[in-house]
């Protein structure tokens, strides 16, 4: 249990997708002008990460890893398909995103309109593929840990985008030097937030 809490807190604060690894920056910069749309996209990302990371964990352990195919028969025991992982992971992600798109369209047409092109673009949001690749790299012990990691990373991303959206709503009324307006100041504020989040680094759970 403690291990799970540890992974959860770590993936939100210490290994935050945005501030520690810069993943999902494109949609983070593009959809963070208003808090309401940022919340919508954040929730969609949480959902997609929570579903795809465990799915890809199963793929990784029963299909891709060296020796993972042993369950079919001893002849397959030393097959190593790990070079296929990019393609299979991205296929899982693309189909999950399709699913989310249909769900959002059905249950919240307003949000669907607000997110527009960025909903299908979750498929190419690096935070999602990054979640699966980190899962692969860090060798989580079981599927619960992988799920908690996916969920935590999603929450971390959600926090980041909602925070920057709030700051950007305020910053519209500030006197920013003209060449820094818009993109430039967002980069710098994100950098400063990253410095803030680094203070979590020393925490041992």
């Amino acid at each position: 249990m403690q291990e799970l809490v540890n992974i959860f807190a770590k993936s939100i604060f210490v290994d935050n997708m945005v501030f520690a690894y810069f993943l999902g920056m494109c949609s983070y910069l593009a959809v963070s002008k208003k808090v309401s749309t940022a919340v919508g996209l954040g929730i969609a990302v949480i959902f997609v990460l929570t579903v795809t990371v465990p799915t890809n964990y199963l793929l990784q352990n029963f299909v891709l890893q060296e020796g993972a195919l042993a369950w079919i028969g001893p002849r397959f025991a030393d097959v190593d398909l790990s070079f296929l992982s990019f393609i299979l992971f991205i296929a899982v992600i693309a189909s999950m995103v399709q699913l989310v798109e249909m769900l959002v369209e059905k249950f919240s047409p307003a949000l669907y309109g607000a997110l527009g092109i960025f909903l299908p673009l979750i498929a190419v949001n690096c935070a999602i593929l990054g979640g699966s690749l980190f899962m692969q790299e860090r060798n989580y012990a079981n599927i619960t840990e992988a799920t908690v990691f996916g969920f935590g990373s999603g929450i971390g991303w959600f926090l980041a985008i909602v925070a920057i959206a709030a700051i950007r709503e305020k910053i519209q009324y500030s006197n920013v030097p003209a060449p820094l307006k818009g993109l430039g100041i967002t980069f710098i504020v994100t950098g400063l937030m990253g410095i803030g989040f680094m203070s979590f680094m020393g925490i041992k759970l």
Binding site: Y21, G130, P179, L192
Partner: protein, 232 residues
Amino acid sequence: MAEVLEKDVQKEELIDKVPKEPLFSKKNRKLLSDPFNDDNPITVQVLGICSALAITVKLQPAIVMTLSVIFVMAAGNVIISLLRNFVPNRIRIIVQLVVVASLVVLVDQVLKAFVYDVSKELAVFVGLIITNCIIMGRLEAFALGNTPWRSFLDGIGNAWGYGIILIVVAFFRELFGSGQLMGFQIIPESWYLANGGFYSDNGFMLLPPMALITVGIIIWVQRSRNTKLIED
């Protein structure tokens, strides 16, 4: 393969443009030069930021990443451009992802075979080229509507415009963060405090947030010089 490609290019050009346009006409040269400044993928189009920042602690991985992206983007653009009349609109995203993913698998395996150390340093970020929005963005915006030769130039131009930012950021971070470039000591040892000098490395430059701030400053400099890019 090259022969087939060349034939296609010529055929396309004969169909699309009469009289025939020279390969490096003014319009085509613009495709190469625009992404440097007016239309830079990172600072203007806001694409492909993630990988741009994560691997810029040192110069060498940044250069390897640039070369990989140039390859994936040029090849991806040409392939999608050749396929553009056969792919149904509804499944184009999946087709693009598959093409890009296969090219990235190729790059990943080549890097693992020839420059294992660098590929270890790049870690998951080679895989993340698949989801690099520059590639998807250019495939969507350009390759789907243009001839292979023009798409090729567009791919090279944009990947290089992306790479130049990567290299500039990596240059400053490595120089100020560890006093080295490509692993060679640039700032003389005798300058360091430990050896009786006045200088010490700014370790902060090696931490992730400084990459963001460095890009922010690059944007600042670029937009002060090129005022038509200023947002209101």
